[in-house]
């Protein structure tokens, strides 16, 4: 039966806030509920609970309820959390800070007693953390290492790392990771180590950094209730445990006053130079590659500037830097200086002097990089390098004077932009006219009413009835002269020449006699059809 209400805070104003815990004592490996209650208040954010590093409090949910008591309404908002201890001992939980708009309310604190895990239930998990080295100089790279060792299989882990004030990450300082299994006395232990390289930017006395906390997921031994819904979220298959590492310490010493020409490099470095060829040629490029190995950051470092020399031109390429982090940080930088001799002979390349600070020797060190002389052949004519990205740069002769004057050509030109305007305007008008005509035709076509064109009487398939047959031939005769207008006989005759008119009149007379007088004319139909064919 959980113990309720350990401490009630006095109200700062109308709203009341409380911090309660399901139990004041808990054992390692267990979790208990913590509640922040707000009565007659409207929180604007989830309350924050001050927690020692040995306790982990995670927000779970929010519940609201309202009551009517003696005609007065009371509204309560409860925020539920889950507390999981990471170490045994007595701890203070709280206070919780509740924000309600511009006002804030603070609860009291709770005392929590965390008991050791029952005997025989100790978890075989171990957490370690620390800086390497623990004493460094300003600008030196240190490695923060945190390790999780486990004798049982883990399902997952999430780290909460301490704030590293006075240290900063850098671009080529990639986090390293090492996971392996070690065997001791026949028992296997999995080790998961992470290495974070950081630059000590600010000198300080011995500084303590908080312990890292890791939440690991372990296989659960809880029995899943029968008949329940499937365990989608694996509530009954995993359980969470918190483990706290140790606090770590780091002391950052200031650098002694730097000598003239200090490169800014802090660490133990070695330098090596190499020429791409022992013999050069005027106008041809020769690469001088300087390789830097060490345990410090190379960010911002560049080779000392080239001393101006009329016998050679030099160009520096962007450096290539790669870093690797383990127990120690290791870096390799490649700096290429391309040199183009402009005169033949023996080219003495001046040595490079680079001053670094060595943490091992606790003093500044001067590195001198000498290069053998370069024998240059070829003519002394000047050359211009148009590209030095490739191994064989393109070299072209560049005249050292302006191009000559031109002996011929027109001396003056007409300023003729007006021609462009006038001709463009002319073309625009013509095109506009064409478009207007097209639009006019388009609208006319749309507004035109379709006319049904009468068909010529069909004489290829004459009716059997004699009266209809003669009538069809009569119509065909008129059509052959007047076309679709199909006017009366006299009018249709006006459409043809007089020689034809007589012939047509004769045919009409014979037709009338056959139609209306019943006079047989065996040759009539053939005559009409012949006339029609001739007209067609």
């Amino acid at each position: 039966m959980p113990l309720l209400l350990c401490w009630v805070a006095g109200p700062a104003f109308a709203a009341r806030v409380e911090l309660t815990m399901d139990s004041t004592s808990v054992q390692m490996g267990e979790s208990i509920g913590v509640t922040v209650s707000v009565v007659d208040g409207t929180p604007t954010a989830v309350p924050r609970i001050s927690t020692p590093p040995e306790l982990n409090v995670q927000y779970v949910q929010q519940v609201s309820s309202s009551y009517w008591v003696n005609g007065r309404s009371t509204r309560t908002v409860k925020y539920r959390y889950q507390l999981t201890p990471a170490a045994a001992g007595d701890f203070v939980l709280g206070p919780a800070m509740v924000e309600m708009g511009t006002e804030k309310a603070v609860t009291g604190v709770l005392e929590v007693e965390v008991g050791d895990r029952p005997k025989g239930e100790e978890l075989p998990v171990k957490v370690e953390a620390g800086f390497f080295p623990e004493v460094a100089y300003e600008g030196q790279v240190v490695v923060y290492k945190y390790v999780l060792e486990s004798k049982i299989p883990l399902l997952g882990s999430r780290w909460s790392l301490p704030q590293t004030t006075g240290l900063s990450s850098f671009e080529t300082g990639k986090t390293g990771r090492d996971a392996y299994v070690k065997q001791r006395n026949g028992a296997e232990t999995s080790v998961d180590a992470t290495y974070v390289p950081l630059v000590a930017t600010t000198a300080s006395t011995k500084q303590e950094f908080a312990a890292p906390v890791v939440q690991v997921d372990l296989p659960s031994d809880r029995e899943r209730p029968k008949g329940r819904i499937p365990d989608f979220f694996q509530v009954y298959e995993t359980r969470h445990e918190l483990f706290v590492g140790e606090t770590s310490h780091l002391e950052v010493l200031p650098l002694p006053p730097p000598p003239k020409g200090f490169s800014g490099l802090v660490g133990d470095f070695s330098f090596e130079g190499k020429l791409s060829a022992s013999k050069g040629e005027v106008g041809r490029s020769t690469q001088w590659t300087v390789t830097v190995l060490g345990d410090g950051s190379l960010e911002g470092f560049a080779l000392p500037p080239w001393v101006s020399d009329k016998n050679v031109r030099a160009y520096d390429a962007a450096p290539e830097i790669s870093g690797k982090t383990g127990e120690k940080y290791q870096v390799q930088g490649s700096y290429v200086r391309t040199m183009v001799p402009t005169r033949s002979g023996t080219l003495q390349i001046p040595p490079l002097t680079i001053v670094t600070f060595s943490p091992k020797k606790h003093k500044y060190v001067t590195h001198t990089l000498t290069v053998p002389a370069l024998t240059v052949s070829g003519s002394d004519e000047s050359a211009t390098v148009s590209s030095f990205r490739t191994d064989e740069p393109t070299v072209e002769e560049a005249p050292d004077d302006i191009s000559p004057v031109r002996a011929s050509g027109e001396a003056t030109w007409a300023r003729w932009p007006g021609v462009i305007g006038w001709l463009s305007g002319l073309f625009s008008m013509v095109v506009g006219f064409v478009v207007a005509l097209e639009l006019r035709d388009f609208w006319r076509a749309r507004r035109k009413v379709p006319v049904e064109v009468p068909k010529a009487p069909d004489v290829s398939n004459l009716p059997v009835d004699p009266v209809e047959r003669w009538r069809r031939l009569d119509e065909a005769l008129r059509w052959s002269m007047a076309g679709p207008r199909f006017v009366d006989r006299e009018s249709s005759l006006q459409a043809v020449e007089s020689s034809l008119a007589a012939k047509v009149r004769d045919l009409w007379r014979r037709l009338d006699e056959a139609r209306f007088a019943g006079r047989l004319d065996e040759d009539l139909e053939a005559s009409v059809l012949l006339f029609l064919r001739e007209r067609r």
């Binding site: 302006i402 191009s403 021609v419 463009s424 625009s428």
Partner: protein
Amino acid sequence: MKFLALSVLLAGCGGEISTGTELWDAGNVEGARQHWEQVADTGNPSPTLRYNLGNAWFRKGDIPRAIGWWRSAGLWSPRDADISHNLAFARSQLENLPPPVAPATGWTEFLSPGEMGAMGLLVAGGGTFGAVLTRRRKSFVFPWVFVAVFGVVLSMTALSGWNAQNEKPLAVVVDGVVGVRPDPMVDAAVGFELAAGTEVRIEARRDEFVLVETGEGKRGWIPEVAAMILLP
């Protein structure tokens, strides 16, 4: 036909280049320069004449004026390799100058308004001719109409570029260092200075001052006489 059109377009041309070149070849650089300058005063100098004048001023040691004439020649012949080379060479002789300013319309660095206009007229003319022809044949005219409209747009763009070259011309500071003032007044305090050879763009004119912008984007007023203004 082609020659007829060219002769119409190039009205007023003269063959005065070779006379100056003869003086040049004889070692009389000043004589050649004076001759070419006189010819240039008679009309609109051709790119060849402007180019030769740039060479003459360079030989006389006046690099800012040489840059001015070459850049002026580039207004008509923007892709001329000799002009580009001479400009680059002359600029390399001057130190601590801001970068050359870009023209008001970017495309004029690659194509002159004349070339763009000629192209536009050809396209517009072809489109118009095609539209009229297809209209007479009672075919579909609108593809030709679109071609003609595109040509007219090109021509208008050319005119716009020409206008920009005249309204916001390039200029080169000549005859020594000039003080740049925030206002077009002699008694205004000098904000910064421009060395001879600085290539600027004129944004506005007021009285005897011009508002200039440098390749770095700095603006201010300088006396008009301190700059060689480059008109197409």
